[in-house]
């Protein structure tokens, strides 16, 4: 074959690839889209979101769907890669005709996708997992245009405020150290923590970081100790935090350790074991300790379907609530994406699993459902995340309905 042959084949391959898909026909069911990490190290988040959404969708379909139409979840694996997320969002909206999307697993992905969603795709997105503040406080929001990004999970500014305020105001610590991950979320977290400390008139006594490949945090822990930190604030995920608490155990260090919601799930205890005892975590919801009945139903349903407990309940629950929020919006004003968006800003009351909202879930100016007042601080106690409550005698956790255990403020041990 001569050179002509090359071109013939190349042309055929390219043409065939393009022509093998015809644009999809509009389907009867209402499509909800999801693109997130379903493979790779962050996949436990994506899988939880997908499962939580599926439970909600099946419940709704069992009761006849929305206006007689069934809901369907079209999901994609973006491999935690923003390039893929962007491509998949376009595909979900333009080819699959999704009318609403459940948010991705990677803050970087959501940041990449936000402008396109607001400018071109115009489809509402509710994020259960990503907490970078700029996702909802984006350009469109700042310019007063329609903002299509919403959030039911923790959001950066609020979480940092909550963490710092809890330790400074409620526990009375003035010397606070930082230990954050150099990965994306850790970077924004660090900035937010520094900001809030400044707003409280404080500066961190030490500001340490580590990256994903660190398995031994000895230098950082020693430096924090030498600086006299009364507590250490952290932004990182399960894996890195396991190494932190193991290092602390090795060095016999008891400094109170407070982490953002990266470790708010059983995966942490599975990995760290008893070394994780006493670690505090901020989150939106915990399924340990006394629980409202709706949450127990959800937990049991999850267990029935997947034969295991949730790895990261907060994301599954967030996704579940996201789907029901979409349902509420659609029932109000129909399936057109722009109408869904507007309707979301007008839900006056909502009984979600995250919390029972007695005020508007979202408003035009506030696209974060969960604010600082709604967040909870939990303590890892014998494998459970128990909410830390404050009364006249001080901070305590409820082991069960009858037993309260108070905490020693200097090392968070149970008294």
């Amino acid at each position: 074959m001569t050179g002509n042959g090359h071109m013939r084949v190349a042309a055929a391959v390219m043409a065939a690839s393009f022509w093998t898909w015809a644009p999809a026909q509009a389907q009867e069911p209402i499509k909800l889209g999801f693109a997130g990490a379903l493979s790779g190290p962050a996949s436990f988040v994506g899988v939880e979101i997908k499962r939580g959404a599926e439970i909600a969708i099946d419940e709704i379909n069992a009761k006849g769907g929305i206006g007689g139409r069934k809901l369907v979840l079209v999901s994609r694996d973006d491999e935690h890669n923003p390039v893929k997320t962007v491509a998949q969002y376009r595909e979900l909206v333009e080819r699959e005709k999704a009318v609403a999307i459940v948010g991705a697993t990677n803050s970087a992905s959501m940041l990449a996708v936000a402008p396109i969603v607001n400018d071109t795709l115009n489809v509402p997105v509710i994020c259960p997992a990503t907490d970078a503040t700029a996702i909802t406080e984006n350009d469109a929001q700042k310019q007063g245009r329609d903002n299509y990004l919403f959030r039911v999970g923790m959001y950066g500014t609020g979480q940092a405020n909550f963490m710092v305020d809890t330790m400074v105001k409620k526990f009375g610590h003035t010397k606070v150290g930082l230990l954050t991950w150099t990965g994306g979320w850790g970077v924004t977290g660090r900035g937010e923590l520094q900001r809030r400390l400044r707003e409280n008139g404080l500066a961190p006594v030490a500001d340490e970081t580590f990256d994903n490949n660190d398995t031994d945090m000895t230098p950082q822990i020693i430096k924090l100790k030498n600086a006299g930190a009364q507590s250490i604030l952290n932004y990182a995920l399960v894996r890195e935090n396991t190494f932190v608490v193991q290092t602390k155990e090795k060095l016999r260090d008891n400094t109170p350790y407070v982490s953002a919601w990266g470790i708010a799930g059983p995966a942490f205890w599975k990995a760290a074991g008893a070394a994780g005892e006493g670690v505090l975590t901020s989150t939106t919801v915990t399924i340990d300790g006394p629980q409202p009945p709706e949450r127990m139903t959800f937990v049991n349903e999850y267990r029935r379907r997947h034969n295991q407990d949730m790895d990261a309940a907060v994301f599954a629950i967030g996704a579940y609530d996201a789907v029901y929020l979409f349902k509420a919006a659609i029932e109000r004003d129909g399936v057109e994406p722009q109408k869904i968006r507007a309707a979301l800003e007008n839900i006056p009351e909502f009984k979600g699993l995250v919390k029972h909202f007695t005020r508007p879930v979202f408003t035009r100016d506030r696209h974060n459902a969960v604010t600082e007042e709604d967040m909870v601080m939990t303590r890892w106690t014998n494998g459970k995340m128990l909410e830390v409550k404050f009364d006249a005698k001080g901070p305590h956790v409820e082991i069960d309905a009858q037993t309260k255990k108070y905490l020693d403020r200097s090392n968070m041990t149970l008294l």
């Binding site: 996949s43 436990f44 340490e208 230098p219 430096k223 894996r239």
Partner: protein, 318 residues
């Protein structure tokens, strides 16, 4: 030992202990503690790095996915010890021989066919095997990192004021023993000499009656078995997860280059030094630049002394 010598040795030991106990000052403690934890990590790097050398010497090819083999060893260890309650001492030979056998298979199908002169495609084929291993590991064992109990308990041992985990000491000890054993193997045993012959020239060795093919296969499998051993040792310190080996493999690789791919003796030294250096950079400067410096060092080493710090200059024949 003569009486005088014995008391002198005891005296030296006592003096060393006293010196270590004297490290009370915070600065000295910090340096010592940090360097010590780095040395333990470095021992693992060294143990993995020698695997690169083993393969390279006999086939002039590298197992680019060696880190994934470490992971496989670790995951297998997890399965045996945690899920099936094997005793660690029983698990170890199983892990090592399993990885040896798999190494023979892998070499036959993913390396040997591609050892054509002048072609570097084995780079891609060994990587492909690595990808397969990660994905299979994710499917078989799931994605969440899980802990494996350390072999000698969790209570730290104190060297002076500095704490080390028993597992870390075990790793350093195992690395030293392995290197000594390898050295003896190369110089005292017939098979070891055959290895060195093939490393020098496959053709000539073949003419001398050495089964070059078999030596190549065995050295590849020995490297993967060694990686399994490294995985067995390291997994109680890190967590068992499919992504465990990627970065470990890369760093070990840098160390092998810096020390010299054809100079296994220097690799342990370089490994320990690199580990300590990493920790000290984290401690005194800033974690983030650690890898940047390390890999830039590797590139610089390749430029200035491509045969490695401990290697002999490369000569060519026309």
């Amino acid at each position: 030992m003569r009486p005088g010598a014995r008391s002198r040795a005891a005296g030296t030991l006592a003096a060393a202990r006293a010196a270590l106990a004297g490290i009370r000052s915070t600065r000295m403690y910090f340096f010592f503690q940090v360097a010590l934890s780095g040395v333990a990590t470095g021992a693992i790097y060294g143990l993995i790095a020698v695997g690169y050398s083993l393969t390279f010497m006999t086939t002039k090819a590298l197992n680019f996915a060696l880190g994934m083999w470490v992971m496989l060893g670790g995951m297998l260890t997890y399965s045996l010890i945690v899920l099936h309650a094997f005793h660690p001492l029983t698990a170890l030979p199983i892990v090592v021989s399993a990885l040896f056998a798999l190494g023979i298979v892998a070499e036959r199908f993913s390396v040997m066919p591609f050892l054509r002169a002048g072609s570097d495609v084995w780079v891609m084929s060994t990587l492909a095997v690595g990808f397969l291993m990660i994905d299979l590991a994710e499917i078989v064992w799931g994605r969440s990192p899980t802990p494996v109990p350390p072999l000698l308990g969790k209570n730290p041992i104190y060297i002076g004021p500095a704490a080390v985990l028993p597992q870390q000491l075990l790793i350093v000890g195992a690395a030293c023993v392995t290197f000594i054993a390898l050295d003896l193997f190369y110089r005292r045993t017939l098979l070891g000499k055959a290895f060195r012959a093939v490393a020098h020239s496959g053709e000539t060795s073949g003419l001398m009656g050495i089964n070059t093919r078999r030596v190549q296969a065995v050295s590849y499998a020995a490297a993967t078995a060694l990686a399994g051993f490294a995985g067995f040792l390291v997994v109680p310190l890190t967590l068992a997860e499919p992504q465990l080996g990627t970065v470990l493999g890369l760093k070990a690789f840098a160390i092998a280059i810096i020390a010299g791919l054809a100079a296994p003796r220097g690799i342990l030294v370089c490994g320990l030094a690199y580990g300590a250096l990493e920790a000290l950079i984290s401690g005194y400067f800033y974690t983030g630049i650690r890898d940047i410096l390390g890999f830039s060092l590797m590139i610089a080493a390749l430029f200035l002394k491509p045969e490695g710090l401990f290697g002999k200059p490369l000569e060519e024949r026309a």
